[in-house]
Protein backbone atom coordinates (compact mmCIF):
# COMPACT_ATOMS: atom_id res chain seq x y z
CA UNK A 1 0.00 0.00 0.00
CA UNK A 2 1.33 3.35 -1.04
CA UNK A 3 1.68 5.76 1.83
CA UNK A 4 1.13 8.96 -0.14
CA UNK A 5 -1.16 10.19 -2.88
CA UNK A 6 -1.03 13.05 -5.32
CA UNK A 7 -2.83 16.08 -3.87
CA UNK A 8 -3.85 18.98 -6.13
CA UNK A 9 -5.70 22.10 -5.10
CA UNK A 10 -6.74 24.35 -7.96
CA UNK A 11 -8.93 27.41 -8.22
CA UNK A 12 -10.01 28.93 -11.55
CA UNK A 13 -7.31 31.55 -11.25
CA UNK A 14 -4.33 29.51 -10.13
CA UNK A 15 -2.93 26.26 -8.84
CA UNK A 16 -2.44 26.53 -5.09
CA UNK A 17 -0.91 23.23 -4.19
CA UNK A 18 0.41 20.09 -5.80
CA UNK A 19 2.35 17.60 -3.71
CA UNK A 20 2.33 14.09 -2.30
CA UNK A 21 0.14 13.99 0.80
CA UNK A 22 -0.41 11.17 3.26
CA UNK A 23 -3.82 12.38 4.39
CA UNK A 24 -6.13 15.26 3.55
CA UNK A 25 -9.15 16.54 5.43
CA UNK A 26 -11.91 17.74 3.10
CA UNK A 27 -14.90 19.86 4.18
CA UNK A 28 -17.56 17.96 2.22
CA UNK A 29 -21.07 19.34 1.97
CA UNK A 30 -22.41 16.26 3.77
CA UNK A 31 -19.72 16.36 6.43
CA UNK A 32 -15.96 16.35 6.79
CA UNK A 33 -14.00 13.42 5.48
CA UNK A 34 -10.37 12.49 5.55
CA UNK A 35 -8.99 11.04 2.34
CA UNK A 36 -6.03 8.68 2.59
CA UNK A 37 -4.26 6.62 -0.07
CA UNK A 38 -6.38 3.76 -1.44
CA UNK A 39 -9.56 5.59 -0.56
CA UNK A 40 -12.69 4.57 -2.40
CA UNK A 41 -13.32 6.83 -5.43
CA UNK A 42 -15.64 9.64 -4.35
CA UNK A 43 -16.81 12.93 -5.77
CA UNK A 44 -18.20 15.34 -3.24
CA UNK A 45 -19.21 18.97 -3.29
CA UNK A 46 -17.60 21.34 -0.80
CA UNK A 47 -18.95 23.62 1.86
CA UNK A 48 -16.99 26.69 3.04
CA UNK A 49 -14.26 25.28 5.25
CA UNK A 50 -10.64 24.32 5.67
CA UNK A 51 -8.70 21.74 3.66
CA UNK A 52 -5.91 20.31 5.80
CA UNK A 53 -3.23 18.35 3.96
CA UNK A 54 -0.43 16.38 5.56
CA UNK A 55 2.45 16.77 3.11
CA UNK A 56 6.21 16.29 3.05
CA UNK A 57 6.72 19.73 4.64
CA UNK A 58 4.23 19.30 7.43
CA UNK A 59 0.59 20.28 7.54
CA UNK A 60 -0.75 22.85 5.11
CA UNK A 61 -4.11 24.49 5.44
CA UNK A 62 -6.26 26.20 2.85
CA UNK A 63 -9.54 28.01 3.16
CA UNK A 64 -11.85 26.92 0.35
CA UNK A 65 -15.38 27.66 -0.74
CA UNK A 66 -17.56 26.23 -3.48
CA UNK A 67 -16.62 23.54 -5.94
CA UNK A 68 -15.91 19.86 -5.48
CA UNK A 69 -13.28 17.28 -4.60
CA UNK A 70 -12.46 14.18 -6.56
CA UNK A 71 -10.91 11.32 -4.63
CA UNK A 72 -9.36 8.24 -6.20
CA UNK A 73 -7.04 5.58 -4.76
CA UNK A 74 -3.92 7.42 -5.90
CA UNK A 75 -4.91 11.06 -6.15
CA UNK A 76 -7.06 13.80 -4.71
CA UNK A 77 -8.06 16.88 -6.67
CA UNK A 78 -9.85 19.72 -4.97
CA UNK A 79 -11.44 22.18 -7.39
CA UNK A 80 -12.52 25.17 -5.35
CA UNK A 81 -14.09 28.34 -6.70
CA UNK A 82 -12.32 30.34 -4.04
CA UNK A 83 -9.21 29.13 -2.31
CA UNK A 84 -6.44 30.73 -0.31
CA UNK A 85 -3.68 29.54 2.02
CA UNK A 86 -4.88 29.93 5.58
CA UNK A 87 -2.11 32.35 6.50
CA UNK A 88 -3.09 34.76 3.70
CA UNK A 89 -6.76 34.94 4.58
CA UNK A 90 -7.87 38.46 5.40
CA UNK A 91 -11.11 39.91 6.66
CA UNK A 92 -11.71 41.35 3.16
CA UNK A 93 -11.47 37.88 1.63
CA UNK A 94 -14.00 36.55 4.11
CA UNK A 95 -16.27 39.53 3.51
CA UNK A 96 -16.17 38.80 -0.21
CA UNK A 97 -17.10 35.19 0.49
CA UNK A 98 -19.88 36.23 2.82
CA UNK A 99 -21.32 38.54 0.18
CA UNK A 100 -21.98 35.51 -1.99
CA UNK A 101 -23.76 33.51 0.62
CA UNK A 102 -26.65 35.80 1.25
CA UNK A 103 -29.59 33.81 2.45
CA UNK A 104 -31.94 33.21 -0.46
CA UNK A 105 -35.55 32.79 0.62
CA UNK A 106 -37.17 32.29 -2.77
CA UNK A 107 -37.74 28.57 -2.30
CA UNK A 108 -37.57 26.41 0.81
CA UNK A 109 -34.82 24.39 -0.84
CA UNK A 110 -32.69 27.45 -1.59
CA UNK A 111 -33.30 28.78 1.89
CA UNK A 112 -32.05 25.50 3.29
CA UNK A 113 -28.82 25.32 1.31
CA UNK A 114 -27.91 29.00 1.49
CA UNK A 115 -28.64 29.21 5.21
CA UNK A 116 -26.43 26.17 5.73
CA UNK A 117 -23.58 27.74 3.75
CA UNK A 118 -23.96 31.02 5.61
CA UNK A 119 -23.80 29.18 8.93
CA UNK A 120 -20.74 27.21 7.77
CA UNK A 121 -19.08 30.44 6.79
CA UNK A 122 -19.86 32.11 10.10
CA UNK A 123 -18.41 29.12 11.95
CA UNK A 124 -15.33 29.29 9.75
CA UNK A 125 -14.84 32.96 10.55
CA UNK A 126 -14.98 32.25 14.25
CA UNK A 127 -12.43 29.48 13.88
CA UNK A 128 -10.08 31.66 11.84
CA UNK A 129 -10.63 34.68 14.02
CA UNK A 130 -11.15 37.14 11.13
Amino acid sequence: MADTMQFDLVSPERKLASFAASEVLIPGSEGDMTAMPDHMPVITTLRPGIVRAKGPDGDQEFVVSGGFAEVTATSLSVLAEQAMPRGDVTAEFMDALAAEFTVDQTTPEMLDTTAKSAADLAALRVELGV
Binding site: G66, F68, E81
Partner: protein, 291 residues
Protein backbone atom coordinates in the same frame (compact mmCIF):
# COMPACT_ATOMS: atom_id res chain seq x y z
CA UNK B 1 3.44 70.73 -54.41
CA UNK B 2 3.37 71.28 -50.65
CA UNK B 3 5.92 73.75 -49.39
CA UNK B 4 8.88 72.93 -47.16
CA UNK B 5 7.24 74.02 -43.94
CA UNK B 6 4.20 71.76 -44.53
CA UNK B 7 6.40 68.76 -45.30
CA UNK B 8 8.44 69.31 -42.19
CA UNK B 9 5.31 69.39 -40.06
CA UNK B 10 3.97 66.21 -41.69
CA UNK B 11 7.21 64.38 -40.95
CA UNK B 12 7.19 65.50 -37.33
CA UNK B 13 3.59 64.39 -36.92
CA UNK B 14 4.16 60.94 -38.46
CA UNK B 15 7.22 60.52 -36.27
CA UNK B 16 5.22 61.10 -33.10
CA UNK B 17 2.53 58.71 -34.36
CA UNK B 18 5.23 56.11 -34.81
CA UNK B 19 6.38 56.65 -31.25
CA UNK B 20 2.84 56.10 -29.97
CA UNK B 21 2.22 52.93 -31.97
CA UNK B 22 5.62 51.58 -30.95
CA UNK B 23 4.83 52.19 -27.29
CA UNK B 24 1.40 50.58 -27.66
CA UNK B 25 3.00 47.55 -29.27
CA UNK B 26 5.37 47.11 -26.37
CA UNK B 27 2.64 47.56 -23.79
CA UNK B 28 0.51 44.99 -25.63
CA UNK B 29 3.44 42.56 -25.65
CA UNK B 30 3.81 42.85 -21.88
CA UNK B 31 0.07 42.51 -21.33
CA UNK B 32 -0.06 39.54 -23.68
CA UNK B 33 2.42 37.68 -21.53
CA UNK B 34 0.35 38.35 -18.45
CA UNK B 35 -2.84 37.29 -20.22
CA UNK B 36 -1.21 34.09 -21.43
CA UNK B 37 0.01 33.30 -17.93
CA UNK B 38 -3.51 33.80 -16.60
CA UNK B 39 -4.93 31.51 -19.28
CA UNK B 40 -2.26 28.94 -18.48
CA UNK B 41 -3.04 29.09 -14.75
CA UNK B 42 -6.75 28.52 -15.37
CA UNK B 43 -6.26 25.49 -17.56
CA UNK B 44 -5.89 22.76 -14.88
CA UNK B 45 -9.15 23.80 -13.24
CA UNK B 46 -11.07 23.91 -16.51
CA UNK B 47 -9.70 20.58 -17.68
CA UNK B 48 -10.49 18.67 -14.48
CA UNK B 49 -13.86 20.35 -14.23
CA UNK B 50 -14.82 19.42 -17.78
CA UNK B 51 -13.59 15.85 -17.33
CA UNK B 52 -15.76 15.32 -14.25
CA UNK B 53 -18.72 17.09 -15.81
CA UNK B 54 -18.30 15.03 -18.97
CA UNK B 55 -18.74 11.85 -16.97
CA UNK B 56 -21.63 13.17 -14.94
CA UNK B 57 -23.54 14.62 -17.86
CA UNK B 58 -23.04 11.49 -19.97
CA UNK B 59 -24.70 9.30 -17.36
CA UNK B 60 -27.46 11.85 -16.77
CA UNK B 61 -28.06 12.11 -20.51
CA UNK B 62 -28.22 8.31 -20.76
CA UNK B 63 -30.97 8.23 -18.16
CA UNK B 64 -32.76 10.98 -20.13
CA UNK B 65 -33.40 13.26 -17.22
CA UNK B 66 -31.59 15.93 -15.31
CA UNK B 67 -31.72 19.64 -14.59
CA UNK B 68 -32.96 21.83 -17.45
CA UNK B 69 -29.52 23.43 -17.63
CA UNK B 70 -28.34 20.10 -19.01
CA UNK B 71 -31.28 18.73 -20.95
CA UNK B 72 -32.55 22.07 -22.23
CA UNK B 73 -36.09 23.33 -22.26
CA UNK B 74 -37.08 20.98 -25.07
CA UNK B 75 -37.12 23.80 -27.59
CA UNK B 76 -34.57 25.94 -29.41
CA UNK B 77 -36.91 28.73 -30.39
CA UNK B 78 -35.27 31.58 -28.50
CA UNK B 79 -31.51 31.85 -28.80
CA UNK B 80 -29.28 34.03 -26.67
CA UNK B 81 -26.00 35.12 -28.23
CA UNK B 82 -23.41 36.29 -25.72
CA UNK B 83 -20.91 38.41 -27.61
CA UNK B 84 -17.61 38.96 -25.83
CA UNK B 85 -15.43 41.69 -27.32
CA UNK B 86 -12.88 44.19 -26.09
CA UNK B 87 -13.41 47.55 -24.44
CA UNK B 88 -10.82 49.32 -26.53
CA UNK B 89 -10.09 49.61 -30.21
CA UNK B 90 -6.80 49.73 -32.14
CA UNK B 91 -6.50 45.98 -32.13
CA UNK B 92 -6.83 45.15 -35.82
CA UNK B 93 -9.59 42.80 -36.81
CA UNK B 94 -10.08 41.39 -33.33
CA UNK B 95 -13.60 42.69 -32.75
CA UNK B 96 -14.71 42.56 -36.38
CA UNK B 97 -14.02 38.83 -36.71
CA UNK B 98 -16.19 38.06 -33.68
CA UNK B 99 -18.93 40.37 -34.89
CA UNK B 100 -18.83 38.81 -38.36
CA UNK B 101 -19.37 35.36 -36.86
CA UNK B 102 -22.22 36.66 -34.70
CA UNK B 103 -23.86 38.36 -37.67
CA UNK B 104 -23.70 35.16 -39.73
CA UNK B 105 -25.22 33.17 -36.87
CA UNK B 106 -27.92 35.75 -36.19
CA UNK B 107 -28.89 35.92 -39.85
CA UNK B 108 -29.10 32.16 -40.10
CA UNK B 109 -31.25 31.90 -36.97
CA UNK B 110 -33.55 34.72 -38.04
CA UNK B 111 -33.95 33.12 -41.46
CA UNK B 112 -35.03 29.92 -39.72
CA UNK B 113 -37.70 31.90 -37.92
CA UNK B 114 -36.05 31.77 -34.50
CA UNK B 115 -36.04 34.55 -31.96
CA UNK B 116 -32.59 36.01 -31.32
CA UNK B 117 -31.50 37.92 -28.26
CA UNK B 118 -28.07 39.45 -27.86
CA UNK B 119 -26.10 40.14 -24.71
CA UNK B 120 -22.88 42.06 -25.22
CA UNK B 121 -19.80 42.02 -23.02
CA UNK B 122 -17.37 44.77 -23.95
CA UNK B 123 -18.20 48.02 -25.65
CA UNK B 124 -16.76 47.42 -29.11
CA UNK B 125 -19.08 44.56 -30.00
CA UNK B 126 -22.09 46.55 -28.93
CA UNK B 127 -21.08 49.50 -31.10
CA UNK B 128 -20.69 47.33 -34.17
CA UNK B 129 -23.89 45.36 -33.68
CA UNK B 130 -26.11 48.19 -32.56
CA UNK B 131 -27.07 49.44 -36.01
CA UNK B 132 -28.34 46.13 -37.38
CA UNK B 133 -29.48 44.33 -34.27
CA UNK B 134 -30.06 47.13 -31.79
CA UNK B 135 -33.62 45.98 -31.15
CA UNK B 136 -32.44 42.47 -30.21
CA UNK B 137 -30.01 43.57 -27.51
CA UNK B 138 -31.23 42.81 -24.05
CA UNK B 139 -28.29 43.72 -21.85
CA UNK B 140 -24.74 44.99 -21.85
CA UNK B 141 -21.96 44.14 -19.40
CA UNK B 142 -19.41 46.90 -19.03
CA UNK B 143 -15.88 45.64 -18.46
CA UNK B 144 -14.07 48.96 -18.80
CA UNK B 145 -13.64 49.27 -15.04
CA UNK B 146 -12.03 45.85 -14.77
CA UNK B 147 -8.30 46.16 -14.26
CA UNK B 148 -7.44 42.52 -13.77
CA UNK B 149 -9.78 39.88 -15.07
CA UNK B 150 -10.89 37.58 -12.27
CA UNK B 151 -13.18 34.63 -11.86
CA UNK B 152 -15.63 36.95 -10.10
CA UNK B 153 -16.21 38.80 -13.40
CA UNK B 154 -17.10 35.56 -15.14
CA UNK B 155 -19.42 34.62 -12.30
CA UNK B 156 -21.25 37.94 -12.54
CA UNK B 157 -21.87 37.41 -16.23
CA UNK B 158 -22.96 33.81 -15.62
CA UNK B 159 -25.33 35.07 -12.95
CA UNK B 160 -27.01 37.44 -15.41
CA UNK B 161 -27.40 34.65 -17.96
CA UNK B 162 -28.69 32.12 -15.42
CA UNK B 163 -31.22 34.54 -13.95
CA UNK B 164 -32.61 35.18 -17.41
CA UNK B 165 -32.64 31.46 -18.16
CA UNK B 166 -34.55 30.72 -14.97
CA UNK B 167 -37.05 33.40 -15.95
CA UNK B 168 -37.60 31.49 -19.19
CA UNK B 169 -36.30 34.25 -21.43
CA UNK B 170 -34.38 31.93 -23.78
CA UNK B 171 -33.80 28.26 -24.57
CA UNK B 172 -30.24 28.10 -25.88
CA UNK B 173 -27.24 30.26 -24.99
CA UNK B 174 -24.06 30.48 -27.03
CA UNK B 175 -20.96 32.47 -26.17
CA UNK B 176 -18.72 34.06 -28.81
CA UNK B 177 -15.07 34.88 -28.30
CA UNK B 178 -11.68 34.69 -30.01
CA UNK B 179 -9.50 31.68 -29.27
CA UNK B 180 -5.86 32.63 -29.00
CA UNK B 181 -3.70 30.72 -31.46
CA UNK B 182 -0.73 32.99 -31.93
CA UNK B 183 0.04 36.69 -32.16
CA UNK B 184 -1.04 36.75 -35.79
CA UNK B 185 -3.92 34.32 -35.61
CA UNK B 186 -6.99 34.39 -33.41
CA UNK B 187 -9.93 32.18 -34.21
CA UNK B 188 -13.49 33.37 -33.59
CA UNK B 189 -15.25 30.63 -31.67
CA UNK B 190 -18.84 29.87 -30.70
CA UNK B 191 -19.50 27.63 -27.71
CA UNK B 192 -22.92 26.56 -26.53
CA UNK B 193 -23.19 26.86 -22.74
CA UNK B 194 -26.91 26.20 -22.17
CA UNK B 195 -27.93 23.42 -22.46
CA UNK B 196 -24.49 22.32 -21.33
CA UNK B 197 -22.46 20.26 -23.77
CA UNK B 198 -19.39 18.73 -22.16
CA UNK B 199 -17.25 16.40 -24.15
CA UNK B 200 -16.49 13.08 -22.58
CA UNK B 201 -12.88 12.07 -22.80
CA UNK B 202 -12.29 8.75 -24.50
CA UNK B 203 -11.95 5.78 -22.26
CA UNK B 204 -12.89 7.61 -19.10
CA UNK B 205 -15.96 6.07 -17.59
CA UNK B 206 -16.46 8.31 -14.61
CA UNK B 207 -20.00 7.64 -13.54
CA UNK B 208 -19.81 3.97 -12.55
CA UNK B 209 -16.50 4.43 -10.90
CA UNK B 210 -17.28 7.05 -8.27
CA UNK B 211 -19.43 7.33 -5.21
CA UNK B 212 -21.29 10.62 -5.14
CA UNK B 213 -21.88 12.76 -2.15
CA UNK B 214 -24.56 14.12 -2.07
CA UNK B 215 -26.39 12.35 -4.91
CA UNK B 216 -25.37 12.46 -8.55
CA UNK B 217 -28.27 14.81 -9.33
CA UNK B 218 -27.41 16.97 -6.33
CA UNK B 219 -23.87 17.42 -7.58
CA UNK B 220 -25.08 18.15 -11.10
CA UNK B 221 -27.50 20.76 -9.84
CA UNK B 222 -24.74 22.44 -7.90
CA UNK B 223 -22.05 22.21 -10.55
CA UNK B 224 -23.92 23.04 -13.77
CA UNK B 225 -24.27 26.77 -12.93
CA UNK B 226 -20.59 26.79 -12.02
CA UNK B 227 -19.90 25.14 -15.37
CA UNK B 228 -21.42 28.14 -17.16
CA UNK B 229 -19.16 30.46 -15.17
CA UNK B 230 -16.13 28.28 -15.86
CA UNK B 231 -16.74 28.31 -19.59
CA UNK B 232 -17.28 32.06 -19.62
CA UNK B 233 -14.10 32.55 -17.61
CA UNK B 234 -12.15 30.43 -20.08
CA UNK B 235 -13.65 32.47 -22.92
CA UNK B 236 -12.78 35.76 -21.26
CA UNK B 237 -9.19 34.66 -20.72
CA UNK B 238 -8.81 33.52 -24.32
CA UNK B 239 -10.31 36.80 -25.42
CA UNK B 240 -7.90 38.74 -23.23
CA UNK B 241 -4.87 37.05 -24.74
CA UNK B 242 -6.30 37.35 -28.27
CA UNK B 243 -6.98 41.04 -27.85
CA UNK B 244 -3.44 41.80 -26.79
CA UNK B 245 -2.03 39.57 -29.53
CA UNK B 246 -4.15 41.27 -32.18
CA UNK B 247 -3.22 44.69 -30.87
CA UNK B 248 0.44 43.78 -30.87
CA UNK B 249 0.47 42.76 -34.52
CA UNK B 250 -1.75 45.69 -35.55
CA UNK B 251 0.58 48.13 -33.83
CA UNK B 252 3.61 46.42 -35.33
CA UNK B 253 2.13 46.99 -38.78
CA UNK B 254 1.28 50.59 -37.94
CA UNK B 255 4.82 51.25 -36.75
CA UNK B 256 6.23 49.82 -39.96
CA UNK B 257 3.85 51.84 -42.12
CA UNK B 258 4.77 55.01 -40.27
CA UNK B 259 8.44 54.25 -40.91
CA UNK B 260 7.80 53.89 -44.66
CA UNK B 261 5.77 57.07 -44.68
CA UNK B 262 8.59 58.98 -42.98
CA UNK B 263 11.08 57.74 -45.55
CA UNK B 264 8.88 58.82 -48.45
CA UNK B 265 8.21 62.22 -46.95
CA UNK B 266 11.89 62.77 -46.19
CA UNK B 267 12.82 62.08 -49.82
CA UNK B 268 10.13 64.48 -50.97
CA UNK B 269 11.32 67.05 -48.47
CA UNK B 270 14.95 66.80 -49.64
CA UNK B 271 13.95 67.00 -53.31
CA UNK B 272 11.96 70.17 -52.82
CA UNK B 273 14.71 71.65 -50.68
CA UNK B 274 17.18 71.03 -53.50
CA UNK B 275 14.77 72.52 -56.01
CA UNK B 276 14.54 75.66 -53.93
CA UNK B 277 18.33 75.93 -53.70
CA UNK B 278 18.71 75.40 -57.44
CA UNK B 279 16.13 78.06 -58.10
CA UNK B 280 17.91 80.52 -55.89
CA UNK B 281 21.25 79.81 -57.59
CA UNK B 282 19.74 80.33 -61.03
CA UNK B 283 18.33 83.63 -59.89
CA UNK B 284 21.71 84.81 -58.52
CA UNK B 285 23.64 83.71 -61.62
CA UNK B 286 21.20 85.21 -64.09
CA UNK B 287 21.20 88.38 -62.01
CA UNK B 288 25.01 88.53 -62.15
CA UNK B 289 25.00 87.89 -65.91
CA UNK B 290 22.55 90.68 -66.53
CA UNK B 291 24.88 93.27 -65.04
Amino acid sequence: MPNLKDLKNRIASVKSTRKITKAMQMVAAAKLRRAQDAAEAARPYTERFNAVMGGLTASAAASGQGPTLLTGTGSNQTQLLVVMTSERGLCGGFNSTIVRLVRARAQKLLAEGKTVKILTVGKKGREQLRRDYGSLMIEHVDMSEVKRLGYANARDIAQIILTRFDAGEFDVATIFYNTFQSVISQIPTAVQVIPAAFELEDGVEVSDFYEYEPSEEGILRELLPRGVATQIFAGLLENGASEQGARMSAMDNATRNAGEMIEKLTIQYNRSRQAVITNELIEIISGAEAL
